[in-house]
């Protein structure tokens, strides 16, 4: 693929900016992940600038790394999963999400082609090897949650880390795992490579799936969050960011996959523009329309955490301190 633009200048180590700063460093937990697309798209559309903030995007290749970088003061705002704010509260770190981008985690539990006949339900996963992107990630917790929901032990299935991208596709294709939790565009790529639709056990990319698995309409996933302290000191900047993202979400809602793909840097298409447009079209239904969190949604996320993450477990979590809709309204 031919790249479009030179990379943004590497900014030095960023001391957490002073109050009223209109220059923000956003750490993204994987810039090429579709679920974080609005953050990059907003930059491409020039919305940040229009709102009056200068945004520097840093690709940190994973949600937990992006979060850690923010806690360490390298970035101000993180584009990561909402569940991190809950996990941080369990660790006595005050982190608050202020824009919701993903209504759903966009995950699907796929059966490897070699097991298409054998595994028909979650219960069939007993004793099997399930691939996740990395242990402890939301894909891992998704599996744990599903197992628990179906009355199984967390240890009933072996969890293998297979990463994302080509390594995940290869692991599935070659049958190195029996099933795997995957994200877009990996699912589409896998589909294309095996030549038929893979068997999907659970799919929360759609409203139906969400209802079925989590019994909710929304399950906030990708979001922008920051340290509560930073938010309190930079209300104005946060508001501008939230506005920019909200406008981007509206833009996405109002445009087709192709139109959106055309706005993204060319290299993000990875050479296959048609496929890219298609997955963006699919993505649209998992994205939030207005950037707000719902009580049901955050509650569902907490439930998942309680079940799947022993670090949260039964700790006392004050949900209202983990998110705010103050800036998107």
């Amino acid at each position: 693929g031919a790249p479009a633009a030179a990379p943004p200048g590497q900014s030095g180590s960023a001391a957490a900016g002073g109050a009223g700063s209109s220059s923000v460093i956003i750490g993204i937990g994987g810039q090429t992940l579709l679920t974080y697309l609005p953050v990059t798209l907003a930059q491409e559309l020039g919305y940040y600038q229009e709102e009056g903030v200068t945004v520097d995007l840093q690709d940190l290749q994973g949600g937990s790394k992006a979060l850690t970088a923010m806690i360490g003061g390298s970035t101000h705002v993180t584009s990561g999963y909402y569940e991190h704010t809950i996990q941080m509260q369990a660790k006595n770190q005050k982190v608050k999400a202020f824009v919701d981008m993903g209504e759903s985690s966009g995950l699907a539990l796929l059966v490897a082609p070699k097991n298409e006949g054998n595994i028909k339900s979650i219960a069939d996963l007993k004793g099997k090897n399930v691939g996740v992107t990395s242990p402890g990630s939301s894909t891992d917790m998704f599996v744990k949650f599903l197992l628990a929901k179906n009355g199984m032990q967390q240890t009933d299935a072996a969890i293998s880390a297979i990463g994302a991208g080509s390594s995940a596709v290869a692991a599935m294709e070659q049958g190195q795992v029996d099933a795997a939790v995957m994200l877009e565009p990996d699912i589409s790529v896998l589909t294309k490579r095996i030549g038929h639709d893979p068997v999907i056990l659970e799919d929360v990319r759609s409203a139906d799936g969400l209802k079925e698995v989590f019994d909710t309409d929304a399950w906030p996933s990708s979001s922008l969050y920051a340290k509560t302290e930073w938010l309190d000191q930079n209300k104005e900047t946060a508001g501008k960011l939230a506005k920019a993202i909200k406008r981007t979400l509206e833009f996405i809602d109002g445009h087709s996959g192709e139109e959106i793909a055309a706005k993204m840097p060319e290299k993000f298409a990875g050479g296959d523009k048609a496929l890219y447009a298609k997955v963006i079209e699919d993505l649209k239904k998992t994205l939030s329309k207005d950037g707000t969190f719902t009580d049901d949604g955050v509650q569902a996320v907490l439930e998942t955490q309680r079940v799947a993450n022993s670090e949260v477990g039964n700790k006392d979590i004050k949900l209202q301190e983990t998110y705010t809709n103050e800036f998107v309204r």
Partner: protein, 254 residues
């Protein structure tokens, strides 16, 4: 200084560093989110050990590291010796080996997974690419810097190429080889762990990745602590072997 006194000094040093760490965390100078209390780490280690949780992981990692170490060192030695003896090959292949050495292994992870699967072999391959280059370059240089007179003498005494290797080159390059082995012990383990970290279903790297995924820094440090202990033990063994094989060297009086 007697070995015992040395060990005590080392222990004291360790305790001093850990103590300072503990105090600065408690005093809030160091952020507990990144550097958990040493006492908590040790407790986690204890839990991992006493519950037996860590042993299957450690066993997997050790298998990978030892295989990577052995295969990497063997191939590195072999190629090092061959290329040092056949100047043509060395000049031909040197740039290629240099180029491959500069390939970022992490980027290659998907290819390793593809070729060697999710099991231990992809990690062995990972560690191999680290160990091999270190041992190879050192062996090459070690053989090339053998005293000319020794080689000539052995050849005059009727040494075949194989005997030259055995009686002259290998012993002469042994200090070099051991230096590279000292370096590669660490790298073999690093390779295995990073390999696991990127894709695996067991191993200390997997355990560390899991802990890191849920922001359990104590677990991360506990995993690294256990690795350090293991390396310490392996290094002791390598040192002993080295002392045995290099016993002909004059004792260094300081």
């Amino acid at each position: 200084m007697s070995p015992l006194a040395m060990r005590s000094t080392q222990l004291l040093l360790t305790i001093a560093v850990l103590g300072a760490w503990e105090l600065s965390v408690r005093a809030g100078i160091v952020d507990e989110f990144f550097f958990p209390l040493p006492s908590d780490i040790l407790q986690t280690v204890w839990v991992w050990v006493s519950s037996g949780f860590v042993f299957p992981h450690l066993w997997v990692t050790m298998q990978e590291a030892i295989l990577a170490f052995l295969v990497g060192a063997a191939v590195g030695l072999l190629l090092g010796f061959v290329l040092a003896r056949v100047r043509f090959l060395e000049r031909l292949l040197d740039p290629f080996l240099q180029m491959f050495n500069a390939l970022p292994r992490v980027v290659l992870a998907p290819i390793f997974l593809l070729w060697f699967g999710l099991g231990i072999w992809s990690k062995v391959a990972f560690g191999f690419t680290l160990v091999f280059f270190i041992v190879f370059f050192n062996t090459l240089e070690g053989v090339k810097s053998v005293d000319r007179v020794l080689v000539d003498n052995a050849r005059m005494l009727g040494a075949s190429e194989k005997q030259l290797l055995r009686h002259v080159f290998i012993p002469s390059a042994l200090t070099w080889i051991f230096s590279s082995l000292h370096i590669s012990v660490g790298f073999a383990i690093t390779g295995a762990v990073v390999g696991e970290y990127l894709g695996a279903s067991a191993g200390v790297g997997y355990a560390i990745a899991q802990a890191q995924g849920v922001f359990d820094t104590q677990g991360v440090f506990a995993g690294m602590f256990i690795l350090m202990i293991v390396v310490l033990i392996i290094d002791l063994l390598v040192n002993r072997l080295e002392r045995h094989l290099l016993r002909w060297r004059p004792v260094q009086s300081s």
